[in-house]
């Protein structure tokens, strides 16, 4: 559900950047979305098609680079992808970790004409 607000913010940011570059058309928006953000890419597409109408970003294609959750064990430093809970470190079997990737939620670049 928060995809509506996120898509609006994403569109605003893309349009702002396009305006600064005096672009006539935004053709692509390259997004980086971490798994922890809980953002459903299909929903973003859906809202984008509606929200971008009457803007220079209408019909722009969205490219999603999805980043999985990766954790780093605080005890032994192993970086691992958690699967079934409990999320113990595969090397030392301890569960004491920090998030390395998965929180991303940004526009990497836009393509304009």
């Amino acid at each position: 559900m928060h995809e509506l607000a996120i898509t609006q913010s994403m569109l605003d940011l893309a349009l702002e950047q396009a305006r600064k570059a005096q672009a006539k058309q935004v053709t692509q928006i390259n997004l980086v979305i971490g798994e922890m953000s809980g953002v459903v890419c299909d929903s973003v597409e859906f809202y984008f098609n509606i929200l971008s109408q009457d803007t220079i970003a209408h019909r722009a294609s969205l490219s999603f680079q999805q980043i999985p959750i990766q954790l780093r064990c605080r005890r032994c430093g192993t970086v691992f992808s958690p699967s079934e809970p409990p999320w113990a470190c595969p090397s030392c079997r301890q569960w004491d970790a920090e998030v390395v990737t998965g929180r991303e939620l940004y526009i990497d670049s836009i393509e304009v004409e």
């Binding site: 607000a5 940011l13 950047q17 396009a18 922890m36 409990p86 999320w87 569960w95």
Partner: protein, 223 residues
Amino acid sequence: MEIKVVRNILSANEQIAAKNRKLWDEHGVLAVNLMSSPGAGKTSLILQTIRRLRSIMRVAVIEGDIASTLDADKINKEGVRVVQVNTGGSCHLDANMLSLAIDSLPLADIDLLIIENVGNLICPAQFDLGEHKRAMIISCPEGDDKPYKYPLMFTTADVVLVNKIDLLEVLDFNIVALEVAVKGINPQAPIFPLSCKSGEGIEAWVLWLLAERENCKEFYDSL
């Protein structure tokens, strides 16, 4: 032509959040963003907190709900200032909604501002409101595996409250498993088991708030 952007999608929200926080800082208000699933006990906890703190601290509440003023009405009966924010379908509060609500509060007369977010363990975690502290409630009926399902919420919380411990006897909820799950990903956050119904454990939470308020006050005094 490609234009490199590399900017957080929610950067506009974060700019407004920073303004909110500046406003609170200027007035010496400790702002706490309270989040949980629907029905975990946010309003009950706020009522318990007000009853214990109102003689020593000026408390105000911002109530976020998709619709209705039911919760705000309950808090109003306690005689503290409350502002209702109806999000009109949105599943979370954002910094802009907060900035509008703050305008109707006399910040100079407030020590502690509790913001009750919309009941949801996903979306509210994503939106910075400018709060000083994030508090979250997990209630025992929800299950002890929730930190693995909603890692962003549990990772970003400054304090985790485990409500409805009066029900432990009839549930398969393993409080040790929950504590292990939370500490594995967020070792700094204290965990306070409590019951808003019986009042058990509320003191530890209230003492935590008082300590945070004291830290906050020392910070303002040093400015």
